[in-house]
């Protein structure tokens, strides 16, 4: 994955994103290489990575968000996350994989070639970044499927506690179709628009976090703030659940970031150490700022820093060094902190669980910071011919394109969903909590 991203980082890597080697001679025509190698160690790691990303969604993200809402709404969060993951997996098999990686040479669309995974067999292989090294295509499909399953679920935190269940499900499918699959194709496919531009996005900061963060902002503005927002007590109903979720996100994120290396090699271990220490730096950063600003470091602050750091290191983890990673994490925390604690209150939008404030903002910090910290002089792996300024402009362009694409498209899709099923529950339901009216259940009994 992320071949485009990686092209400049590792000149030896095959540019090809996903090739099916179902018939080996076919390949031989082009390069007469040795037979492509499928290493069982790569397969083991990529299978583990796929599970880790599932683990991020369920129960990771579900708990992280679920702990933050009031007890009367937790089931709605858990259910929305579960349902989005399930729907996206089915959609992925039916047309998502094809739309993103279906093999067309259009820069925005993967085509209809692999609807229902047609043509994929036990023998189909996908390329990695090392020439001649492949993994089973079923594995590539699975790994990518987990990304598609979690991304729309990130968005729901912004309008938690008031959105209609049917609206969430419908929006997710539409958004995946018109935003996620195209952007994934643009960034990760060898023919993709941003891929060709040379943007560095190791594990999907643009596709996943900026994409979801901006959609979240648009959504919470269009749906409007929660009843009683800014007046009623809306403290998280269970911070322990929230920390369980955040910790699982951290552990699972290694599937996301390190798995994006597609191979179990030294490059993977660099992505790993960076994903550890950027997060550590971000936790420290957030807690320090909070201590300076408020006199106390909160556990929710540490958890928020954790996520901010993970978001920021996502595009950068393959090309920067550990010391740079610590700095990038801390920087992301500082900037996200400002958005979450000042900008949001200033503008009055109710991004309930700070999806924009952390995923959107952290994603942008990460995308731009990648340009800076990838430089060899700052501990990155880029050599002498690397220009921070030039790369920064490429990263900025990728960010702007993504922000505009997802911003405009999300606004249109929210409007459509509003017209079809309505975005928001009735006021009495919001007061009572979404769980019983929408799902017929109550989370806690004695």
């Amino acid at each position: 994955m992320n071949s485009g991203v990686f092209k400049s980082a590792r000149p030896l890597a095959a540019a090809a994103a996903v090739l099916a080697f179902s018939v080996l001679p076919a390949l031989a025509q082009e390069t007469t290489p040795a037979a492509p190698i499928m290493d069982k160690g790569d397969v083991a790691w990529m299978m583990t990575s796929s599970l880790l990303v599932l683990f991020m969604a369920l129960p990771g993200l579900a708990l992280f968000y679920g702990g933050l809402v009031r007890a009367k709404n937790i089931l709605s969060i858990l259910m929305q996350t579960t349902m989005i993951a399930a729907v996206m997996m089915v959609v992925w098999v039916v047309y998502g994989y094809s739309f993103a990686f279906g093999g067309s040479d259009n820069p925005f669309f993967g085509g209809f070639g692999k609807l229902f995974l047609s043509g994929v067999t036990l023998e189909s292989m996908s390329a990695t970044f090392t020439s001649g090294v492949v993994i089973p295509e079923y594995l590539f499909i699975t790994f990518q499927m987990t990304f598609a399953a979690i991304t729309p679920a990130l968005i729901i935190g912004a309008f938690a506690e008031r959105v209609k269940f049917s609206a969430v499900v419908l929006f997710s499918v539409l958004w995946a179709t018109f935003v996620y699959f195209p952007v994934a194709h643009m960034v990760w496919d060898a023919n993709g628009y941003l891929f060709k531009m040379g943007a560095i996005d190791f594990a999907g900061g643009t596709v996943v976090h900026i994409n979801a963060g901006i959609a979240a902002l648009v959504g919470c503005i269009m749906i409007g703030p929660r009843k009683g927002y800014g007046k009623d007590m809306m403290a998280p109903h269970s911070l322990p659940l929230c920390l369980i979720g955040a910790s699982i996100l951290w552990v699972g994120w290694f599937g996301f970031n390190v798995g994006s290396n597609l191979e179990s090699n030294a490059g993977a271990t660099l992505a790993m150490i960076n994903t550890f220490v950027a997060t550590a730096g971000a936790i420290l950063g957030w807690s320090l700022i909070e201590t300076l600003h408020r006199g106390k470091a909160s556990m929710l602050g540490a958890a928020s820093g954790m996520i901010a750091g993970l978001v920021a290191i996502t595009p950068a983890c393959g090309t920067i060094g550990p010391v740079g990673a610590i700095a990038l994490g801390a920087l992301a925390s500082a900037i996200c902190y400002v958005f979450v604690s000042a900008v949001k209150n200033r503008f009055g939008y109710d991004d309930s669980l700070d999806v924009f404030g952390i995923h959107g903002v952290g994603g942008i910090v990460g995308a731009l910071g990648t340009a800076i910290f990838s430089a060899g002089a700052l501990g990155g792996i880029k050599g002498d011919d690397y220009s921070i300024g030039a790369q920064f402009m490429i990263q900025l362009t990728a960010v702007v394109i993504t922000v505009v694409w997802t911003g405009v498209a999300s606004a249109i899709l929210f409007k459509i969903v509003d017209l079809i099923v309505g975005l928001r529950v009735k006021s009495e339901i919001e007061t009572q909590g979404l769980d019983q009216p929408t799902h017929g259940e109550v989370a806690y009994h004695s």
């Binding site: 009683g228 007046k231 009623d232 007061t431 019983q436 009216p437 017929g440 259940e441 109550v442």
Partner: protein
Amino acid sequence: MKYVIAVIKPFKLEEVREALGGLGVQGITVTEVKGHGRQRGHTEFYRGAEYTVSFVPKVKLELAVDEAIADKVIEAIQLAGQTGQIGDGKIFVLPLEQAVRIRTGETGAAAL
């Protein structure tokens, strides 16, 4: 002295407390309770099982007040606690014979 017990809708607590504060009444003791009355409960399903929950979450306020302001207190609660919809709750007034402030040992109206 009167002992006023009021059962209200949970989300009205803050408004009622403010209304009472406006009368200079500070001392209140609050309990989370479940109420049964005209307001219907709801139904929950858990796989094959269906449960009718006939109790609704409410908040109970208790406050000991001087005779003199009892009526104002009742009025304040009634106004602030009202939504006009079924289940708004009740106010009950009981006679109070004695009050003691534990910290100081003060008694009577001085202890309220």
